[in-house]
Structure formats: C-alpha cells, structure tokens
Amino acid sequence: MTTSSESTQAAAQAVECTLVEGVNLALARALQDDPTVVILGEDVGIDGGVFRATQSLIGRFDESRVRDTPLSEALIGGLPIGLAAMGLRPVAEIQFMGFIYPVIDQLVNHASRMRTRTRGRLSCPLVIRAPYGGGVHAPEHHSESMEAMFTHIPGIRVVIPSSPAKAYGLLLAAIRDPDPVVFLEPKRIYRAVRETVVDDGRALALDHCFVTREGSDVTLIGWGAALSEVMDAAETLATDGVEAEVIDVATLKLLDFETIAASVEKTGRCVIVHEAPVSGGFGAEIAARLAGAGLVNLLAPIERVAGWDTIMPLPRLEDRYMPSAGRVVAAARRVMEYS
C-alpha cells in the first residue's frame, strides 16, 4: 500500500539494503526532494550518526541542513518546534532512546498541540527519530523500549518500521506528514537483513497495519525487532499445523484497529508481543481494544508476551529479559489449547 510519490527527482533505483541504510536512503531522498527538510542531532554530521543513519548526508547536501547540535536533548526536542512552526521540516535524531525523555516535555506541551492551541495557525511537521530496543548487548540505558510513553500522547503519531523497505517508506511518510511523528528504529535489526528497496520516493501509508503472514488459527501481533521472533514463532507453529496470521503494527499511533480486529475475529485467538515491560506497554492498548470490541468469535484469553516489569538488565542477563520466540510459541499453544 503506497501513497503517490511527491518525489520529482532522480529515477528510481533498486538497492539491496539494511534497515539503517533504508533510513539513510529516505533521509537523502527527503533532503533531495524537499528544500525545507533539515536534519539535526548529536553526531549526525561528519560522523554520520553513531549507527551511520545519516552517513554521507553532509557531503551530499549543504552542511547547514545536516547539523550537529550541542549535547542538549531538551533543545533537540524544542528547537524543531520553532523550525517547524516557521515552515521547515526538521528531522531530529536522539542518539539512543534512553536519552529521549527530556523530549517528552516538548512533545506533550508543545509539538502535539501547536495546531490545536492555535486552531491551525501554526503546526509542527517534525520527526523525532531514535534507535531503540535491546538485544545488542549495549551499555546501560541503551536497550530500553519505551514506545508506550509516546503512544499515549494525543496529537502525535508513533511509527516503528520492521524491515528496510518499511523503514524507507514509513520514514518518508513521517517526514511528509503535516503533524509530529516519533519514529523509533529497532536497532537490533538495523543490519539483520538486506532487502530490495526501490528508492523512488514512494512513501508507505501511515496509520496502517501490515499483515506479514496470513493464517487462520491464531493472530500474532508485533512491531519492530520483535517481529522477527514473531515470524520465527509462526514458522515453528506451522510445523505443528498451526497457521498463524502475523500483523506488523508499524504505526502504533494512530492504530489501524480494523486490520487487527478483522484478523482476530477470523482466528479467534491472539498473542501480542513486545520488548517493552508488559505493564502499560502498547500491547495493553491492543488487548483492551480487542476486549472492548465485542468480537463474537473470541475463543481464548488475549495473551501478551513482553518484557518483564523489571529494569532492562545489563548484557549478561539481557537474554533472560527479551521475549523469545519460544515464549511466543508457548503462548500461542496456550491459546490454541484453551477451551
């Protein structure tokens, strides 16, 4: 599902790339096509970002448009609001999600509501990008998944890609969106797979869940890096003859509940998977919607397989925190056997 391209430049080029390269391609495309796009953050310039998401941008575009900021996250949250209100399209990077919290103040109190409070006179078409999630044995504070703090904020969108092509298409959509978008990049799969991305400037639709595997027995729902465990679990289940339908939520806010409800109405069973602590995670919202939807065909409790309600451990215990494909399979079997 794509929206029509706003791209005017350069013939489409098919590239085999990783997720982080997909991000880089989208940023370059946006800078190329739209003179109002500005990239900013810590080390996004000559260093190309600590994950290389902004690699080579500074060579290809005017360096006034690819800016290293001082080490000031509250500023990185607030400055783009001024840029956006004055007609630019800032794409700001927070180096790791663990350092994004000072941005929340600006998101809640300003970015999300500039349009509402001025009745449309000013608006905030900005993107805040940040790598997030665990599983890469990173230092302290570098592995958390706190997307649910953002999905509760009215007036913004929260988008999480799960593949190179989705990173490309969804990031372009986020940049073109007229409202604020928090774009969280699952760093565990930054380089996990390569896939063909056609750099044609086509955005993918926001507010849309992707069905990445069809099946009729149970619906498995995930996003970001956890989708790989979900897909693995679906393969394992298939060897048992259980056909799982897999949904990649992709845009957590605003949630495409129709796609989810239709699938669960079909399968009657549902397991929701995320890395974030289970309590108050975004899985709760999906489960709550399902619980409130009055589905006639719900055959089992809605299971959530997620991180524990603990502090994300340092690397030596990290594997005991991350929701594994095994846990997803076990949960799916429980709901299959439920009666």
Binding site: P70, L75, G78, I81, M86, P90, L122, P178, L254
Partner: protein
C-alpha cells in the same frame, strides 16, 4: 596563574524614577510622537489588565496574570521589533502582544479559555503564550534558525521571567544560540519574584544578565521601567541579530506590582512596604512625567488617551462576551491536519453526548 577570560555586565538607563533625563537620550526619544506612541501602548496594556482582572473577579475570565508595573519592558521590546520578527511571549507580555497586533478580544478569549484566542489575525507567525516556564526558549532557537537558513533578516524575541532563568531548557537554547550565532533576543523580565520565590533565592548570580556568559552571548541589564532604555537596548540587540551578529540576553529590571495571578495572594509572602517602594519606580508614571516636562503632555491629552483606551477595551470585552463557545468537534478538528479515521468514532461519540 593566568587570567584567560574577562567579562563585564553593563546597565542602561536614560530616565530617572521621576522621568528626568540622566544624560543624552537616544535619537528616537526626541520625537514626541514616538514617545506618545510608547505611552499609549503602556496605558492600553494597563487598561486591559484592569479590565481582565475585573472580568476574572466576576467569573467571566479564567485565571489571569497581570502585567502591572511591567508595561515598560513589554511595550519597549515590541516597539523595537519589526512586523516580520517573531515574538515568543511568556504569559505576562500582554503589552507586547497588543503592540504586535494581537487584539484585546483575542487576548480575552485566550485567558477566557477559548483556543481561538491564539489564532491571531495579525501577527500570524507570533507564537502563542507559553505557560510552561521557559519552554519556549528552544522554539526561539528553531525559529531563528529557520530565518538564518532562509537568509531572512528577521529575529526571534523570546521573553521570560527571572524564574525562567533557572531552567535548563532556557540555558540550552541560549547556548545553541551562541554556538550557531542565531538571530535571537532573549529578554529576561526580572520582576523580582517567581510567585513567592524572590530573585535572590532563584540564583546566586549577581545579575541575570551574566547568564549569557556561559552561553557565549552578550548579556546586558536595562532599567525595565524606563521604556526609552528598553526600546533602545532591544533595538540594538535586534539590529545585531538581524545582521548576523548572534544573540543577546537582556535582563530588564522591573517589578511585579500585582499578585502573581488572580489565583495568588502576594501578601502571604511579601511586604506592602516593598511594593509601595516599587510604585515609585513604575514605568507609566515615569514616561508621563517625562512627557509632561519635556514634551508638554497636557491633561486633556491624558484624559483623551485614557478614554480611548477604555473604550477600545470595553468594545473588545463586549465582543468577547458575545462570542459563543466553539462546538465540541473543534477538539478533533484541529488535532491533526486531517481527522484520522481512527478518531472518527470518538468524535461522533463526543458530539452525541449532551452536556449535563
């Protein structure tokens, strides 16, 4: 032991408390019309203020933050701005907003709890009032960067209080303004109080202007009750900003003669004596004295002006009170550029509800 850096902070004042010139005045201040204009805006701001408080006391306006005593700062800074500059006001800069073209009706709407009050018909790019103290300082950096990137000779003017100078985001914004040489004037309206916390409890810094030093900016003090000085000092800083010369922090010394807001009772934490002392310094009487002495401002002119301001505010009040509230769908209509289908059902539910 070597000295590697030296700094000093300068205070500017042209008129003494009685409105007498302390020395040569800036050129614009020899123009009677300009001074009358400054005076008119200060009187309008004060008239508006009295009306707003009266409306609040009678349940027709929400909590309101008076600018009584601070009109010199507010009017002086806005007078120095060009229309294409952008104002980022705190919640106490009614004078500046009025001068910029925000109507008294819009201000009443905002303080009366109606978002339409921030949809200014005139200064279309000015920012709405900022309630979370100091959090608009980073926006000024963004706006200024936008001007700089587009090569526009415009500046952003962010106004906040003495309390706000303790906030980290204000510091971060000043620091990037220095690092990137952004066209900004930061105005710290030092009215000596942050609700009940006096200026000296806020910081051990001898001046607030020196908070510029750590950000690599120029910092200056100005007598904020001398509107001529404010006009001049902000004008210089704006010229510098617009011509690529980076940002300035200006500490304007003034005093909050009123309670913090209509929800506050300042007598809980400060003496009447202190307030009385500051009434002798206030900016409106000071300029009136100067006008009377140096420009033969007459009683008749004074009365006409007061009447005109009162009439303007009265008319705005009537228009404000006559305006029905927005329909509830406004909550949804302005949330995103387009109403997302995910929210259509909520909007319908909100409309279906009949208020109790």
């Amino acid at each position: 032991m070597t000295i590697v850096a030296r700094f000093e902070i300068e205070l500017t004042r042209y008129l003494d408390a009685d409105g007498a010139a302390l020395g040569e005045l800036p050129a614009f201040a020899s123009n009677r019309e300009t001074l009358v204009e400054l005076y008119r805006w200060m009187v309008l701001a004060r008239t508006f203020d009295q009306k707003a408080i009266a409306l609040q006391r009678t349940g027709r306006l929400g909590t309101y933050a008076s600018s009584l005593g601070q009109e010199g700062v507010s009017v002086g800074l806005a007078h120095a701005m060009r229309p294409e500059d952008v104002l980022l006001p705190s919640f106490r800069e009614h004078g500046a907003q009025l001068l910029r073209g925000v109507t008294p009706k819009e201000l009443l709407q905002y303080w009366g709890g109606d978002e339409r009050g921030s949809n200014f018909a005139v200064p279309r790019q000015d920012f709405p009032v900022c309630i979370p103290v100091g959090s608009h300082a980073p926006h000024a950096a963004g706006a200024a960067l936008a001007f700089k990137l587009r090569g526009e000779p415009r500046a952003a003017v962010a106004v906040f209080g003495d309390g706000a100078t303790s906030k980290g985001d204000v510091y971060e914004a000043m620091n990037v303004a220095g690092a990137w040489q952004l066209p900004i004037v930061f105005v710290a309206t030092n009215n000596q109080w942050a609700i009940s916390v006096p200026r000296n409890a806020q910081t051990a810094a001898a001046t607030l202007a020196q908070k510029a030093i750590g950000a690599g900016l120029e910092g200056r003090q100005v007598d904020g009750n001398d509107v001529i000085a404010v006009r001049q000092v902000i004008g210089e800083a704006l010229d510098k900003a617009r011509s690529g010369g980076s940002a300035t922090l200006i500490e304007a010394l003034t005093y909050r003669l009123a309670d913090h807001t209509t929800a506050d009772d300042a007598s809980r934490y400060r003496d009447d004596d202190e307030v009385a002392k500051h009434w002798k310094q206030e900016p409106v009487a000071r300029l009136r004295s100067h006008l009377t002495t140096a420009h033969s401002w007459s009683k008749a002119e004074e009365e006409a002006l007061i009447e005109a301001c009162a009439a303007q505010v009265e008319q705005a009040t009537d228009a404000y009170l006559a305006e029905p509230p927005e329909p509830p769908e406004a909550m949804f209509d302005h949330l995103y550029a387009e109403l997302p289908s995910a929210l259509a059902a909520q909007r319908d539910a909100a409309l279906a509800e009949t208020p109790e």
